[in-house]
């Protein structure tokens, strides 16, 4: 059951990721990317990381992709007007990415992994445990990320304004 779920989700994820890269219409790319995020969330649930799975759907598929969709539709890009790179560049890009994945998989295949316990704590990914870790050991990065968000928000508003008086 689990292996079947794993293979199914992996195939969906890889297919949709290829769809993001290959499809000519940006709207289709966005929708493929949302499907990829959903299948990755399925992987998270499979690995007992329920909170991260939900956050992944809410933040990525919900917020970030809606932002992308807004921009694509606002700029009226949902047509195939984009000039494409030459075939040579495409072939070179695909070859180098394929070689990169080959190297990555080969290196990971040769790595020696630390032995892990056979049975894991299924409570690990719940909000209770994560919150305890987040607010005890990672409190400073958590607060710093709020400053990052504030500056990102101010920057985005400032960039998006039509005329900025100096």
């Amino acid at each position: 059951m689990q292996a079947a779920l794993f293979y199914g989700l992996s195939i969906v994820a890889i297919m949709c990721a290829c769809g993001v890269v290959v499809s000519r219409n940006p709207i289709h790319s966005v929708l493929f990317l949302i499907l990829t995020f959903f299948s990755i969330s399925g992987h998270y649930i499979l690995m007992n990381a329920q909170f991260i799975a939900l956050v992944n759907i809410i933040v990525y598929a919900g917020a970030i992709m809606v932002l992308f969709l807004f921009v694509v539709m606002l700029l009226n890009l949902n047509k195939e007007s984009e000039p494409h790179k030459s075939d040579l560049v495409k072939i070179i890009a695909a070859t180098s990415a394929g070689l990169f994945s080959l190297v990555l998989v080969g290196v990971l295949k040769g790595a020696t992994l630390p032995a892990y316990e056979g049975m894991m704590d299924s409570e690990n990914g719940l909000v209770k445990n994560l919150g305890r870790v987040l607010f005890q050991e990672f409190l400073l990065p958590f607060e710093l990320s709020s400053i990052l968000f504030l500056s990102a928000m101010v920057g985005a508003v400032l960039l998006g304004k039509k005329n900025v008086q100096a």
Partner: protein, 109 residues
């Protein structure tokens, strides 16, 4: 909660490593292949998600919730990055009427 998920260790961690490697290289391919800035940004998101997947896999198999907290932070940074990136993108579109990355060669010097 989910009965069949209770012991997840029958899928080896190597499979997750290979899957995230493949997803990461698809993202690299997207950045190299396309000229549309939006699709390049989406490919970067894809790469970030591949890394997230690997983080979660190791957090699960090493039985350590810190990896999951790291994924949380990566998501925060990705959200901020997308916000600023799309703002810059709309600015570029307003000036050049295009989202083609090849118009932006002036910084090359």
């Amino acid at each position: 909660m989910f009965d069949f998920l209770e012991k997840s260790s029958n899928i080896p961690i190597e499979y997750y490593m290979w899957l995230s490697g493949i997803l990461f290289s698809i993202g690299v391919m997207g950045v190299l292949m396309r000229r549309n800035v939006i699709i390049m940004l989406m490919s970067i998101e894809l790469m970030l998600n591949a890394v997230n997947l690997l983080f979660i896999a190791f957090a699960t198999f090493l039985n350590d919730p810190k990896g999951q907290v790291f994924v949380f932070f990566i998501m925060l940074v990705a959200a901020a990055e997308v916000t600023v990136g799309l703002a810059i993108l709309t600015l570029i579109y307003r000036n050049t009427k295009s989202v083609d990355i090849d118009f932006l060669k002036k910084l090359k010097g």
